[in-house]
């Protein structure tokens, strides 16, 4: 451009010429935007400092060491009313992670089942699965949580009228109770045998797979595996004189003593998150399976593979490449949606920390900052892990 001859009268002034230069304009535009962002940030932060100073709120994370003084009805880490806000944070975080792990596991099972069911050759099963998806994904999650919590679980009878589901299982308005396993002397040996059995079976099946690849012969190892995982620990269990006691829940007038209690908040939250997210996963699974060319299943049929094996060995592995990226974002959605716990007072991170702790201390900026950082880290690390996993799963270049 610059060597295009221009007549004297066409040449604009220096500043105007600079403004038309693409690179100069790019720098100016960026400076302008950055300037606005910095200015907004500066105004905001100075307002925050001014407001905090006026309200006499000390900023900083010192409050984490102060005494929390409130109780929590489900704790996975040591906590009591004398613990600090910092410990309350851990209680909330572990409770969030518990819901996320349970939810991801269950919703994967249900979602895959419904997604495959929608493609079933059985007309009724396909229609039922379609109805499931279309109903559940079009109703707000919060409404579903409320339904399970207030409509179903809070409508259960009081402890004295507990419903007994078989020996040692009680259901009432305060939750679900089941026997607690109490290990006695020798239980460690049984558990160790179980672990060793699982490891040995994994090693064996790997060896069998290698054998299959090398020689083409199938080694049946499932019987050996069954013996290692179930038989050996069971035999040890009886040899050592059944070193496991059961602490049965006993219903009394106002409460249930003994056993393990699952609070209704957890049940409602996991149920709603699982069934809701499964409706999305089902659609993802269906799209993934449909993306596998029809020739693949026809070829498998031509080889004489039965339907179940075709699905497991041919279709699903290829569909997984399409399924995994959106599946990951559903897992993340589930984790983020678990924050709706606050609406039914399940003690998750948002409820315990951004709710109770925030109300007691008033440290809005620090607490919300910390809470959001936790979710951001969860999101970014999961996204990073899945990107890595995805690049491993991707078809190696065909070129």
């Amino acid at each position: 451009m610059s060597d295009t001859p221009l007549s004297k009268s066409d040449q604009p002034g220096t500043i105007a010429r600079l403004l038309r230069d693409g690179q100069v304009r790019a720098v100016l535009a960026q400076l302008f935007v950055v300037g606005i962002v910095v200015l907004l940030g500066w105004i905001g932060i100075s307002n925050v400092l001014e407001n905090l100073a006026r309200q006499n709120i000390a900023s900083g994370f010192g409050f984490l060491d102060e005494n929390a003084g409130f109780g929590v009805n489900q704790t996975l880490v040591d906590y009591d009313a004398g613990s600090t806000y910092g410990q309350a944070f851990w209680v909330g975080l572990t409770n969030t992670l518990l819901v996320a792990v349970l939810g991801v596991f269950l919703t994967t099972l249900l979602g895959f089942a419904v997604g495959i069911g929608r493609l079933s050759s059985n007309w009724l099963v396909a229609k039922l699965c379609a109805a499931y998806v279309e109903t559940l994904r079009n109703i707000p999650l919060l409404l579903q949580i409320f339904f399970w919590y207030f409509g179903v679980l809070k409508a259960l009878p009081h402890p004295r009228d507990s419903i007994a589901l078989g020996e040692g299982f009680l259901v009432n308005i305060r939750g679900v109770y089941f026997p607690r396993a109490v290990g006695e002397e020798g239980i460690a040996i049984v558990l160790f045998a179980l672990l060793a059995g699982i490891v040995a079976t994994i090693v064996l099946s790997r060896a069998a797979a290698r054998h299959l690849l090398r020689t083409g012969q199938v080694r049946k190892i499932w019987l050996i595996g069954l013996g290692l995982i179930v038989g050996l620990p069971l035999a040890l269990y009886f040899v050592l004189g059944q070193p496991l006691g059961l602490d049965m829940p006993q219903a009394s007038r106002f409460n249930v003593k003994g056993g393990v209690r699952i609070i209704p908040e957890l049940i409602a939250l996991v149920l709603a998150l699982t069934t809701y997210t499964a409706s999305f996963i089902a659609e993802i699974v269906r799209a993934g399976i449909l993306s596998v060319p029809k020739g693949q299943s026809e070829a498998a049929a031509a080889l004489g593979l039965p339907n179940g094996l075709t699905l497991r060995k041919i279709i699903i592995p290829q569909a997984m490449r399409v399924i995994i990226p959106p599946l990951t974002s559903q897992y993340l959605n589930l984790t983020k949606n678990s924050s709706l716990a606050v609406a039914i007072a399940y003690p998750d991170l948002v409820s315990v920390f951004a709710g109770t702790t925030l109300n007691q201390t008033g440290q809005a900026v620090e607490i919300l900052g910390l809470t959001m950082t936790v979710y951001l880290l969860l999101s970014l690390s999961t996204a990073g892990f899945m990107n890595w996993f995805n690049s491993r799963m991707a078809i190696r270049g065909r070129s």
């Binding site: 409404l143 339904f147 207030f150 409509g151 409508a155 951004a354 919300l368």
Partner: protein, 352 residues
Amino acid sequence: MMLNWMRANLFSSWGNSLLTLISLWLVWVIGSGIVEWALIDAIFTGDNREACLVPGAGACWPYVGAKWNQFIYGRYPLESQWRVDLIFAMGAGALIPSMIEGMRGRRWFVLFLLLPFPVITYVLLTGGMFGLAEISSDLWGGLVVTLIVAVTGIVASLPLGILLALGRQSDLPLIKAICVVFIEFWRGVPLITVLFMASVMLPLFLPDGVVIDKLLRCLIGVALFSSAYMAEVVRGGLQALPKGQTEGAQALGLSYWQSMRLIILPQALRLVIPGIVNTFIGLFKDTTLVLIIGLFDLLGIIQLTFTDAGWSTPQTHNTGYVVAAFIFWIFCFAMSRYSQRMEKRLDVTGER
């Protein structure tokens, strides 16, 4: 005919027959349960809870009749509810023609919805002008608030999302970085923390003496949150366009903004209409979260009516939830069907 069809589709093998029987049993249990609860055992008339306290009673429909006005309008004064009706009528009247492809003057309806309609809605709802009585937003509630939050979210997030998507695709490193950080931040945190931020933290960021209405604060939070999701949808459309489009625009001597406005965006946005509608469905369902920070949307109002001792029965909760679920379901299902139809249409035009 019928028998052949059944043999092929329901009883082709032992396993299939078993599945069919289990499914039939499921259909029977769920179907008969719903019919019994909603029709056979349900109570249809009554003036208060007494009517629904019959042992073994199903749905308590008179409760819905008594509270219906609140479900829709919240605590909006009765004598001013015509204003809300007028807004509903105008909105529906402009929305329906603007959704039909090939409708004459379609763009004018869309333009009306995007520009004057929000202003008219604001004036009519708040009042205090043109002789209309002023009505504080504390009194708004029910479906009105649900629709306000959802529609504001979508209308505000669309332009913001487009700008963010363009920024993320930009060659300018600083602008790109700012947009990436902005988008990933909002997409990484749950909406409920955003709403908490809007309700307790946003006031701290404002100078002393400036007070923003709670509903407005919540709207700002929702708009920023959904703009990040919208940006990713739009980015999908931008990436789907062949590079030749940009290069062609450049070859014609169009500037960046001209090529975006005239060449790129019209094509990209058309491609992502289904994605936009899906984002809107998500946002519409997410509006229920505002009840956690103390606003009364449809679900919030229904929760509130449960505290009315005059209608407290064992079935009030479930009746209320079923009504709310049905209303939300109708809206979301209609939208998802629309988006599916658009998807099919776009597919067809793409292959030609």
